[in-house]
Subunit: 549 residues, 2 copies
């Protein structure tokens, strides 16, 4: 068996190592365009920010180690230029010598990755404008910073962009973020990003949403970034993180099927339209595990898994890829934001029915010092209660809850299962009713019709004249410190005694700080003849919609 | 509907609050022997250690709040003395006035909890010897410490005992732990507790295993604890944490069924043998979710859930309790230890077939600063791969992995599902191959017979003459720093070139530091005609068996 693997980072390296584990006598050639294989691309922003100080640590495995330990034929600085599917050969170009040669294969695995988008904006090729994909990009940005950067513009507020922001700010660089969408971290729903916006503001970052770079010009002091709005931003460093496109040229030239957004198409065994060619990683189109539709999700974990699965199939071990959930996480200064499964907006785009709830619990028992608040959002099927997606933002413990919910999605669990989860509790780690249990209670209560709820935006969409009576059941002090306009205030503990203040027959939308007292008010009022819904997530969720406006 | 609830802490308070949410007009009487309801008993050790400084924070809900918000009839310092099941009445004793009276009920919920064991050892009632169950116990221990304690003896190295140790040591008290079993934290398997033993030793705690208190005597300087071995320990404070027994007297006197270990027996709706009496919390016998056999597990999370479920059934909402997994966690100085599902020893006791694996990964990407090692152990069905239990011990991130595995057990997942888990990865939070994925790879490899493994103790049980050849595939430096006696050393990267040094036909047990290189060696050697097994968890797991001996 002779296998050629195109690309030596996450998916390619996993495929190669797996191939050797399965066969001592296979001939395994790994062809990688860059000088490095299997490097830690998720670590690049942190080397720029001096959090990772030893560059060698980013080299997960060296070509030398792959040769010694896995008996691989590693060819770095080499590019596969074309595939002859009939002859089962590839043409390889040695980028050092310029020499080309052919190599036969029995099986080919394509793991070329995805390249950062670099739109044809005037001046985009000026010095000082960078994308960040590999160690060489990282070195260039680092050199630029070492040469003196006072102001940076980060174009694109996705994962890599925001990770760069954190690191640039911590180096003392004045940083502006320019994002075309009206929110940061577009994989999340907008209201979930409010705490990130606040965090950026607190750290002195200038955030320009709904804005884009229109051109770049060289100046005596570096660059000026001209925005669509006309604004001009001086900078000595510009980074572009506005998305990636699959490296599909090789596949397209060879006539392999690619999807509408450019991802190489594969079946559940990760086989392309050619029976001898597999493809894995950021270059492929995958199945969205929740929506069961094609998508492209460039993530390291899935790439590694796919590399393993492609190789298994090559060696006759039937192995299928179950699809990608899109579990992803961002650390931004002291905040964490994470997502798994479908977002509300992807469900809307797919015209899929859903319901949603918010909770704002603390990460561990409130009576133990250091508890930090988080916001969790859950989207689920309105009939079965099956969990479709979850997002979290806050301080400590967000990663744990999103991982728990990622497993729940994988297992096909429902909101009713969340109520019953038995998670590890002692006061430093959680609560007897964990934040995930709370999500389950609130969502199950909605589906059981014990706990009627209305979302903030559903409420605000109702013309004012037809809106339910807004009833704030928090304390007078809380109400006075800020409330939804037009609401009346009856503290929960006085509610039973002040029923006469409520108009008969009028619908009520009750709310409190996070939803807990609003829930109790809803239970009381519905039983006493006042049709009431609880505003999901309360005034805190309301604040998420209006923060920064 | 008139409901009487006996006991006002976790299960009782949850049942009462739920009852009010379901019915505004139910009459709900909560009878609690102590002065407090719904207090945070898991926080008691941390108040003793001054980590929680505001005592009021331990009162999750006051009787006053329950009256105002939930319209409950809360009767503290009151004891239900007997049940007349025919008349459907209880006799209540007011512990303040000494007055007794009867109260009728439609439904009764028993949530009396469990009491700390206090064995009839000579001197056990001397001043300075405490159990820790409620705020009054806590206050007494705190007063004792404030009066001056130089030396403490903690009898029992379970969760509460070890939490007390942490807090006493941090107050500067010289502390000795006395534990009857040959390990600390008996719910875990012994080898998993090795890092805890080391942590205790590092903090200067004297640990006496396989030892018990035989008697206590008053001295000029407080107490002396006489041990079975004859050793005498001076102390000004002794705590007893050697287990609890269900508070079942009321149930037994009323003729309700109780199990062999004293737990009140209930069906899946938490109904006792009387159709009008439910029971919840530490006093009941529950179904072990994994072993499907009766057990007793005193934990706050399950108690809360049971309270809710009992009430649901009272109000005609069919709701079933799925059983208890026993998910539990301990923080001990800088270490975390946690468990969910069955341990190896409970599987052995139940004569249930299983297989097991160990991994020793770090909690987040090794290239990002601050990664901490953990040890995870997984036990699973040898045929289906269904996960039966998991344990973890280490630094950061143990709680997250045990929660993920708790959900996997709840969902009935297999080790093959662990391979495919898509968990949140960025370098601060995890790895592209998460520790849970690693468990999946190692366990699945075992079941697929790709990765033959032998456990340390299975290896050592083989008479020396018949043992496989022990092959250390670590570097020479690692080998020289310590190895399993009798092993030869061929570093992995030299293995293919030094095959001639291996005897033909003899079985080999390969090992490395944590199992990764041992796995690769196993793959290479088996393919090249040397029957080889990998020692699960490598030299690190070996160390767990021999640490402290």
């Amino acid at each position: 068996m002779k296998i050629i693997i195109v690309g030596g980072v996450a998916g390619g390296a996993s495929a190669a190592a797996r191939a050797r584990r399965l066969s001592e006598d296979a001939e395994i050639i790994m062809v990688e365009r860059g000088p490095d294989v299997s490097f830690a691309n998720c670590g690049l922003p942190y080397y720029i920010g001096d959090k990772i100080t030893n560059r060698d640590k980013l080299l997960v495995v060296t070509p030398q180690r792959l040769k010694e330990r896995f008996k691989l034929d590693v060819r770095t600085r080499s590019s596969v230029e074309s595939i002859n599917r009939t002859a089962k050969t590839v043409q390889i170009l040695n980028l050092e010598t310029g020499q080309g040669y052919n190599e036969t294969y029995d099986k080919l695995i394509l793991a070329p990755g995805a390249a950062p988008l670099r739109p044809p904006i005037p001046g985009i090729d000026l010095p000082g404008i960078f994308t960040l994909r590999n160690l060489q990009d990282m070195d260039r940005i680092k050199s630029s910073i070492n040469a003196g950067v006072k102001q940076a513009v980060v174009v694109g507020a996705g994962f890599i962009g925001l990770e760069l922001v954190e690191n640039l700010v911590e180096l003392g660089i004045s940083t502006t973020v320019v994002e075309l969408q009206d929110q940061v971290l577009p994989p999340l729903d907008k209201e979930m990003t409010a705490p990130l916006v606040k965090e950026l503001q607190d750290k002195g970052v200038t955030l320009l949403l709904g804005e884009a770079a229109a051109g770049f010009e060289a100046t005596d002091d570096g660059l000026v970034v001209r925005l669509k709005s006309g604004q001009a931003l001086p900078a000595q460093l510009v980074t572009l993180g506005i998305g990636v496109r699959p490296e599909n040229k090789l596949a397209v030239d060879a006539g392999l099927d690619v999807g509408p957004r450019g991802g190489i198409q594969v079946n559940e065994h990760l086989l392309t339209s050619d029976p001898n060619i597999y493809a894995v990683g950021d270059a492929i189109e995958v199945q969205d595990f929740v929506l069961e539709s094609p998508t492209q999700v460039p993530l390291a974990g899935p790439a590694n898994r796919q590399g393993r699965i492609a190789t298994d199939n090559i060696f006759g071990r039937e192995s299928t890829y179950r699809g990608t959930q899109g579990t992803a996480i961002l650390g931004l200064f002291n905040k964490t934001a994470a997502t798994t499964g479908a977002s509300e907006k992807t469900l809307q785009r797919a015209e899929r029915a859903y319901r949603k709830v918010y909770v704002h619990p603390v990460d561990h028992a409130g009576y133990y010092p250091g508890a930090q608040q988080m916001t969790l959002k859950l989207v689920f099927d309105p009939e079965s209660g099956k969990i479709l997606g979850a997002q979290g933002v806050g301080g400590a413990g967000v990663d744990k809850r999103i991982d728990v919910l990622a497993v729940a999605i994988q297992a096909g669990m429902t909101v009713f299962d969340l109520e019953e989860m038995e998670l590890a509790y002692s006061p430093q780690y959680g609560s007897a009713k964990d934040p995930v249990n709370m999500l389950g209670f609130v969502a199950s209560g909605m589906l059981r019709e014990e706990h009627p709820q209305i979302s903030v935006e559903a409420l605000l969409k109702i013309p004012e004249a037809n809106r339910p009576l807004l009833l704030d059941v928090r304390t007078i002090e809380e109400h006075d410190a800020g409330h939804i306009p037009g609401s009346i205030n009856i503290p929960l503990d006085e509610l039973r005694d002040r029923l006469s203040e409520l108009p008969q027959g009028k619908e009520i939308a009750a709310y409190c700080k996070v939803g807990q007292r609003g829930y109790l008010a809803t239970r009381i009022l519905n039983q006493l003849g006042h049709p009431t819904k609880n505003v999901s997530g309360g005034y805190t969720t309301y604040g998420h919609y209006f923060m920064g406006e």
